[in-house]
């Protein structure tokens, strides 16, 4: 074969290589050929929701499609949300809309310039104020501009128990910390394991801490701590952690602390509400109900074998503030179709459909109580709506790396409470640096 015959082959290779380089360099933005919202070029949505939360959301999307004729493609169940979304942004290929589980991340992405501001897209402050309370609007506001609004809300200030078991043993539902400790001790004295804990997922520990802290140090200090103006080595933090470890220790937790650290969140639910329970109490958000009924044990009877109660009061001065979580809707690509979907998702109409599934609680204040299908979610919705003091999940407010780091710090705390001062000062060093960025 002569050289001249090789040249075309080589040229093809070179063109192919340069095409690959070019396509990775520029990435595909929203396609301009097909109309957005058509079957070929649907509105793209990326969410971390799976299971019942996914089904509920897709029910809302189908209603939107039926109403507008626009198609929405929901890429769902992305559990490890952060790596996926950051990769997609860096590749220039973000979804049009997404659900961001942490306001801290929303703020990071907004400041990096990745998110679109919502006000110019028709989602104004006054419009949102009709549907959401100020606390929720603030969560989606970064440096005075709106970048997101709440899609769903959770109460995280609840613990779960079996009313039948309580009745049989003659326990009253504890409303104060002292009563909670008393119930814990009674279970222990009866030769039972009081608590289950899914500490392999470290956010279960940050939720424990937040509930104890907001009740011992007060909502103001809570806001300052997670806002970066109160150091983590403040004595109030160590005190709250010691209070927390007076219940979360080898004595009272199923499998001991090491067992808890090897147990994931859902497996922890299984230890209390599974077919062969080995513990009696579980502290985690309102979403436990849906998972327990849907995934862990369908035989549970709400109100009889599973029920929730508000996290007890510790210091009467601070009462029972609500620690809540929530996911925010945010936008990467602005177009008229996306605007329509935004307005729909924030409407009470969508909220009604959403909550009718029993999977979530809506932060939309115009969604009525009667729209909730069962006892467990109605109780949660009531708690969220009726909270006098509301504080957002603090670890989700922390910027960048800190939320994850705080979780692993708490994993170390429960293993060795005597290390608390050392661990807190190390964490504070990191926090100071991170808040400065």
């Amino acid at each position: 074969m002569s050289r001249s015959k090789l040249m075309p082959v080589f040229l093809v290779l070179a063109v192919a290589a340069s095409a690959i380089v070019a396509s990775t360099g520029y990435g595909g933005s929203a396609g301009q050929q097909a109309r957005v919202g058509s079957a070929q070029d649907p509105i793209t949505f990326l969410t971390l929701w799976g299971g019942s939360e996914k089904q509920a959301f897709e029910k809302v999307l189908r209603a939107f499609e039926a109403k507008t004729g626009l198609k929405v493609q929901n890429e769902s169940g992305v559990r490890d949300f952060l790596p996926v979304i950051r990769t997609r942004i860096a590749a220039g290929n973000p979804p049009m809309l997404t659900i961001i589980p942490r306001p801290g991340i929303l703020a990071d992405l907004a400041r990096e310039g990745a998110l679109k501001e919502l006000e110019p897209m028709g989602v104004s402050k006054s419009y949102l104020a009709r549907n959401y309370s100020k606390a929720w609007i603030d969560l989606g506001t970064v440096d005075g501009k709106i970048y997101g609004f709440a899609a769903k809300a959770n109460s995280k200030s609840v613990f779960w128990y079996s009313p039948a078991d309580f009745k049989q043993r003659g326990f009253a539902v504890p409303t104060t910390w002292a009563q909670l400790v008393a119930v814990t001790k009674k279970y222990k004295a009866a030769g039972e394991t009081p608590w289950a804990l899914g500490a392999k997922d470290s956010w279960t520990l940050t939720d424990w801490f937040e509930n104890v802290y907001v009740r011992t140090a007060g909502p103001d200090r809570y806001a300052r701590l997670f806002g970066g103006t109160l150091p983590f080595d403040h004595p109030s933090v160590a005190a709250a952690l010691r209070q927390m470890t007076s219940v979360l220790n080898d004595q009272y937790v199923a499998g001991g602390i090491s067992g808890a650290l090897g147990t994931a969140f859902v497996d922890g639910i299984g230890r209390v509400f599974g077919a062969n329970p080995s513990a009696h109490l579980y502290m985690e958000g309102g979403f436990v109900g849906g998972i327990a009924l849907g995934d862990v044990n369908p035989k549970l009877k709400p109100g009889r074998t599973i029920a929730e109660a508000p996290f007890p009061v510790i210091n009467p001065r601070f009462g029972s503030p609500l620690v809540g979580g929530g996911d925010l809707t945010a936008v990467f690509v602005d177009n008229p179709e996306v605007r329509k979907l935004l307005l729909y998702l924030s409407s009470p109409e969508a909220g009604r459909i959403w909550v009718s599934t029993g999977a979530i609680v809506s932060p939309n204040k115009r969604v009525p109580q009667s729209a909730y299908p069962n006892l467990l979610v109605r109780a949660e919705a009531k708690q969220v709506a009726g909270a006098k003091v509301f504080r957002f999940d603090g670890s989700d407010l922390l910027p960048g790396a800190l939320g994850e780091d705080w979780g692993s710090t708490l994993q170390k705390v429960i293993q060795k409470p005597s290390d608390i001062p050392k661990l807190l000062s190390a964490f504070q060093k990191k926090a100071a640096r991170e808040f400065k960025r």
């Binding site: 090789l6 290779l13 952060l82 392999k200 808890a260 090897g262 293993q415 190390a426």
Partner: protein
């Protein structure tokens, strides 16, 4: 018929650049054309990313862009202020680097020992193929599934975890939370990964053993050598090259290990089971610190380079002796 180029015989092949001038310019140009596609592909997918990553490691790198120049700060933080990466203020030292070291010794060692033992022993039984198939099957499972399977095995709840069920039922010991304890978690993951890859070592070494001429072993037997002596003095030396190849493969596996740690523990509890690869992904994507993650990637690359060099040198010496 067109006149094709005269093929260059192997003996004449230029081994040093100096000799290139001796080759006719036309032939040299042809040589360049032949290797150009490979060069283009390597440059695009290997050289360019390496340079890009190295450059990124000197920046803060939000959104994986060259943003916020930091100089060597990322490296300084990595080696002096990040206890989850390297903590030499405690004894014994801890952190992802130390965990990788544990992996290097235990994983590589166990895979080789099991692989070799199984290769030798399986060769002596009638159901050899069955044994080999059983040991090799985990290789066909994705590492993700391996992680999930072993999470069930290790579950601290004896109603789920077979290991604790056996421990409690047979020996009457309290359930041990294998992946929930800082002192056991690394070994637990390593064992799972050995289960995953010992089969590969076994297959390669078994093939190598089969390649040893039977006469040599017979001659040794005639000379009165025992089985152990044959194994140590004849079999092992004769398969030293395949052993080296497998070792290199295992060591590279260790340096880049990520998947099974991610599935089984996410580097926890605390940060006690992080490895370098996990730290890189965690810092880059979960924490959004592109520059810091790139610095970890560069460290990883530097760790792999000497092993690659060793391997290349070995191949060269093989060619000379062969």
């Amino acid at each position: 018929m067109t006149q094709g180029p005269v093929p260059i015989s192997v003996a004449e092949a230029p081994t040093r650049l100096g000799r290139l001038s001796a080759v006719a310019p036309r032939e040299a140009a042809q040589g360049v054309v032949f290797i150009l596609p490979a060069i283009v592909i390597l440059a695009t997918f290997l050289v360019y990313p390496v340079i890009w990553t190295t450059r990124l490691s000197f920046y803060r790198g939000r959104g994986l862009g060259f943003e916020g120049y930091l100089g060597f700060d990322n490296y300084k933080e990595l080696f002096t202020e990040d206890p989850s990466f390297l903590d030499y203020h405690r004894f014994p030292p801890q952190g992802a680097v130390i965990n990788n070291l544990k992996w290097m010794i235990l994983y590589t060692g166990l895979c080789l020992v099991f692989g070799l033992a199984l290769a030798v022993l399986a060769g002596r039984v009638r159901y050899e193929r069955l044994v080999k198939a059983v040991v090799f099957v985990p290789m066909a499972i994705s590492a993700t599934a391996v992680g999930v399977i072993w999470l069930f095995v290790y579950s601290p709840d004896p109603k789920i975890g077979i290991l604790n069920a056996v421990g409690e039922g047979v020996a009457g010991v309290e359930p041990i939370s294998w992946v929930g304890r800082e002192d056991t978690v690394n070994y637990a993951i390593i064992v799972a990964y050995v289960w995953f890859s010992a089969g590969f070592a076994m297959v390669v070494l078994s093939a190598a053993l089969k390649g040893i001429p039977a006469e040599i072993v017979e001659a040794a037997r005639v000379d009165g050598a025992g089985e152990w002596k044959i194994f140590r003095r004849i079999l092992v030396p004769m398969i030293s090259l395949p052993v080296a190849v497998v070792t290199v493969w295992l060591v590279i596996n260790v340096i880049k290990v990520f998947d099974i740690v991610y599935i089984m523990t996410r580097g926890g509890p605390g940060a006690s089971s992080r490895v370098i690869g996990y730290s890189m992904v965690f810092e880059t994507f979960t924490n959004g610190r592109g520059g810091y993650g790139a610095a970890i990637a560069v460290v990883m690359l530097l760790l792999i380079v000497p092993i690659m060099l060793l391997n290349i040198r070995r191949f060269r010496s093989e060619r000379v002796s062969g």
